[in-house]
Structures are given as structure tokens and as C-alpha cells.
Symmetry: C2
Subunit: 119 residues, 2 copies
């Protein structure tokens, strides 16, 4: 069972038992931040659309993604850079095209759960 950190002992606590249990249920700080970061990437309709495109058609290039989503090339590029930085998508250059694909299986699960199921 966890203890209540010293810097919170002054706050009014109603049910100390439950607070301890809740603290015990919290994940590591870094893990929580990481999760929030990933969710943040999915929190934008345009990025979500890009990922949905890539889920259906892996290997699309930037300008096709722009055409499919109605975004400007530049906006697509910016968005993909963020997704790439977190290894959500992978980029493979082929000639002058750069083909993108979802590189994280977990993300695909989240997308399925999102679109297929109501949410």
C-alpha cells in the first residue's frame, strides 16, 4: 500500500485509504507523459485523417495525402514530422517521393477502436 507524499499531508483528505490505493494505481510519470504525448498526436482531426488514409493505403506519399485530406502539402509535412518524431509513422524515400506508413501496431489498434467502434 502506498503512502501519501509529505507535501500533500496538509491538504484535506476525505478517504486516506482510497487516496493511497489511487496513488498506487498511477503509472510511472514518464509513462503517463508518453501516453499523453501519443494521445496528443491523435487529438487533431487532420492528423487523424492522415493516419486513417495510411491505415487503408500504406505507402502513400505527401502530395497524395494532401489531395486525399484536403490539406496543404506543407501542413501534411509538418504533421508527418510530428508523427515521425514519435515513431508513429515511418518514412521511406523512393526517388523523389517519400512513402509513409504507420509503423506502430498499437496505434493501428487505437485507430480501429476509434473509427470502427462508436467512441
Amino acid at each position: 500500500m502506498h503512502r501519501i507524499p509529505a507535501d500533500r499531508l496538509d491538504s484535506r483528505i476525505i478517504a486516506p485509504e482510497e487516496v493511497c490505493e489511487a496513488i498506487g494505481a498511477l503509472a510511472e510519470d514518464s509513462q503517463v507523459r508518453r501516453a499523453a504525448e501519443i494521445f496528443g498526436l491523435l487529438a487533431d482531426p487532420n492528423r487523424l485523417r492522415l493516419l486513417l488514409c495510411l491505415r487503408a493505403v500504406p505507402g502513400m506519399c505527401v502530395s497524395d495525402l494532401a489531395a486525399a485530406t484536403g490539406m496543404a502539402d506543407s501542413a501534411v509535412s509538418h504533421a508527418l514530422r510530428l508523427l515521425r518524431a514519435q515513431s508513429v509513422v515511418r518514412a521511406d524515400r523512393e526517388g523523389r517521393l517519400v512513402k509513409y506508413a504507420i509503423s506502430d501496431k498499437t496505434i493501428e489498434d487505437l485507430l480501429s477502436r476509434t473509427v470502427d467502434h462508436p467512441l
Copy 2:
């Protein structure tokens, strides 16, 4: 098979077939926005912590949540208001306490997938 919207015909498209297929795979606009909104709620470490607490201990009150997460009461209240607005959590008054609980099964799934699995 879908058609490419007229306002994008001027843009340079590499693989028209794939663009059409991708467009067909896109969900309804409102559905995408809704999903992005939900993900947005999970995109903040503090809100995530609150939800993790509530997942472990349903029915916690605001001040206990504040103690468990190290947030100020006010911040907890602000966060819970957003979550309530999207029916992610439910609030039940009991005397002067307000007890919160996760009201959406899908959200609990997402949380599990987040914390239990690496992500």
C-alpha cells in the same frame, strides 16, 4: 470507389487510385472530430492521472483526487469539467462531496491499452 473532390483536382496527384481509396476509408467528418476531441482529453498528463485514479478507485471526490495527483483543487475541478462535458466521467453529489466515476466503457479500454501495454 470514391471520387476526388473538384477543389483538389488542380493539385498534383501521383496515384489517383490510391487517393480515391484513401478518401473512401476516411470516416465521417463529425466522427473524426469527435474522436480527436476524446483523444484530446487523454492528451494531458494530469487528466490522464485523474482517470487512472478513477479507474482504480471509482467514486473519489475532488479533494482526494487532488491529493492523489498533487494537483490543486481548482485544477482538478477544471479538468473534471472538461471530462464531464464529453461524458467521460459522471458526477454524483453526496452531501457536500461530489463523487466521480468513469462513465464510458470505451475510455476504460483505452486506458488499459495505454498503461498495461507499453504504447
